[in-house]
């Protein structure tokens, strides 16, 4: 094998809500320290795919999944895997920024550490994560202010910092820029470039330019089916499937 080691490997994933199957068997590999973008029209299973990766999907009543999902060659759904522990290793950033409104900026960042009973005042971690999230300079003078006072873009970067603080190996991002203005979006995209030096990132987006800008590999979902996945450049310039070509050239979706 000459390809880099795969961080995540998905084989034949099916997922459903009640009787409604929303992913009909998807297989793909995600190399370590790379960015995978998942594109496709809304309602095609992108977010569900993401939520299967940290087992948030199963929290919805009636939701379930089958198939193999491996993280470092270990089955995510093995009986010995505690989803709580898994979610520490696989962090997530949501579509809408969701800082804890009852906590200060600093405490939002350290929330995960306090959960894990890491001793200390976490000041160093807070600073490092806020720097990594490119937010430090904007908030360093008001770390004890409530997180709700930040702008939408700042809140989203705060949520990224919060996810980074528990030192995850994988970062899932569910349309992290869709609620942000263009300037804030650009900052988040720059940040993704920085973060892939250290993390494996999976980002769902409905914005194809964004996918082309930030990702190494791209997967195209359509109506619950993984149509095609491969290097981003190939998907956008020379896809092997007609449907992919139609979508990336804007013929539908």
């Amino acid at each position: 094998m000459d390809a880099p080691a795969n961080k995540i490997s998905v084989q034949g994933l099916k997922a459903w809500f009640g009787k409604n199957e929303v992913i009909h068997g998807a297989s793909l590999d995600i190399p370590d320290r790379s960015v995978l973008a998942i594109i496709g029209p809304s309602g095609c299973g992108k977010s569900t795919f993401l939520r299967c990766l940290n087992r948030m999907h199963e929290l919805t009543p009636g939701a379930g999944s089958s198939g193999k999902m491996l993280l470092d060659d270990r089955d995510l759904y093995a009986a010995s895997v505690d989803p709580v522990e898994l979610r520490r290793r696989v962090g997530m950033v949501f579509q809408r920024p969701n800082p804890f409104p009852t906590m200060s900026i600093a405490r939002n960042v350290s929330a995960g550490l306090r959960l894990n009973r890491v001793p200390g005042d976490h000041a160093e971690v807070v600073e490092r994560c806020l720097r990594q999230a490119a937010l430090w300079d904007e908030v360093k003078d008001r770390l004890d202010a409530p997180a709700t006072g930040l702008s939408g873009g700042q809140q989203q970067r705060l949520c990224i910092a919060r996810a980074l603080a528990v030192e995850p190996e994988v970062l899932l991002m569910d349309e992290p820029a869709s609620a942000l203005d263009p300037i804030a979006t650009a900052k988040v995209e720059d940040l993704i470039h920085e973060l892939k030096q250290r993390y494996t990132i999976v980002i769902v987006t409905h914005n194809m330019q964004q996918a082309a800008r930030v990702s190494d590999r791209t997967a195209f979902f359509y109506l619950g089916e993984l149509v095609e996945s491969g290097p981003t450049e190939k998907i956008f310039t020379n896809p092997s499937e007609q449907r992919t070509e139609d979508y990336v050239t804007g013929k539908f979706g």
Partner: protein
């Protein structure tokens, strides 16, 4: 209360006067019914004040903090009743709040989904049982259990506290407090559930995605967010407990004295009104009882107002963070 966007108020349609006669009549009739509510409220206050007036003139404000009550010799003091009402309500809320919050969490966050409708139905049944039936059960089931088991055990374990001293006779503050706790459980639980529902799902997800357990997500995101609303729920429960009459009358022991021990018999505002009003002799006695009613009315109005404000504040907070 904001108006849902898709509802067109009829007022907007009929703002231009004129229209047809039927419409004007219809709107006048509605207005009248709305006004009738105000009239009834006015009537409530007026009648209370009217019945209480002779006592107010005779006894003055000192009535409120005199602590003896003996209608035969003309001694009327409200303190034993105010005290009994507050103590039993405090016991009730202390017992009911943790159970209610647990129930609410079970029903909205932690319980197995299949069990939730069953439990929720049971709580509705609890709410529908009339007060006098609770009193009957309290008198013949709860009081003996307290007397023979709970009070001796409490005295053994915590007897060094003045709260748990004295002979275990069953009837008294503790019995009234326990039965009130059962009775306000549905109110506090349902308002707490309402409050928990206003906590945005995204906060719960944020905690879980950080690797929080279900309980940690509740402690970290759900409870802090809903704290003010849960206090509001407790106040609403307290408001119900203060005015509850029959069950308390039947188990509190009906003795107009003030005791530090929860084991002792006492009296409450509604209970003394229930027991003495029909047989009260003379307008001062009647008036004193009505004045007690006025005091009760004042306390409950204040409490309910505060509770509603708190619950509404949480709802507004959730609207803000969902923006």
């Amino acid at each position: 209360m904001p108006l849902p966007a898709d509802i067109l108020p009829a007022a907007a349609v009929s703002a231009r006067r004129g229209g047809n006669r039927g419409d004007r009549l219809y709107h006048a009739a509605l207005q009248l019914l709305g006004g009738a509510v105000l009239a009834v409220a006015g009537l409530v206050l007026l009648e209370l004040a009217d019945v209480a007036a002779p006592a107010a003139r005779r006894l003055g404000l000192g009535f409120l903090w005199r602590n003896d009550w003996d209608p035969v010799s003309g001694a009327f003091g409200a303190l034993p009743f105010v005290y009994g009402t507050l103590v039993t309500s405090a016991v009730a809320i202390a017992l009911a709040l943790p159970v209610s919050v647990g129930l609410a969490l079970f029903l909205s966050e932690m319980g197995p989904r299949r069990l939730r409708p069953v439990v929720s139905f049971a709580i509705e049944v609890l709410a529908a049982i009339p007060s006098v039936v609770y009193g009957l059960w309290g008198l013949f089931v709860l009081v003996p259990v307290l007397r023979d088991w709970v009070q001796p055990a409490l005295a053994r374990a915590l007897g060094f506290l003045p709260l748990f001293q004295g002979p275990p006779i069953g009837l008294g503050y503790l019995a009234a407090g326990v039965i009130l706790a059962v009775m306000i459980l549905p109110t506090v639980t349902s308002v707490t559930i309402e409050v928990l529902r206003t906590v945005p799902a995204s906060l719960r997800e944020a905690s879980l995605a950080l690797g929080a357990t279900r309980w940690e997500a509740i402690r970290m995101a759900v409870l802090p967010f809903g704290r003010a609303g849960i206090v509001g729920a407790a106040l609403l429960g307290l408001g119900r407990a203060l005015g509850e009459t029959m069950a308390v009358t039947m188990v509190i022991g009906n003795s107009p004295e003030i005791h530090a021990s929860l084991f002792a018999p006492g009296y409450s505002l509604p209970a003394v009104i229930a027991n003495e009003f029909a047989e009260a002799t003379g307008e001062v006695h009647l008036g004193a009882l009505a004045a007690l009613g006025l005091v009760l009315f004042g306390i409950t109005v204040l409490l309910n107002g505060a509770a509603r404000l708190l619950v509404a504040a949480v709802a507004r907070g959730s609207a803000r963070s969902a923006r």
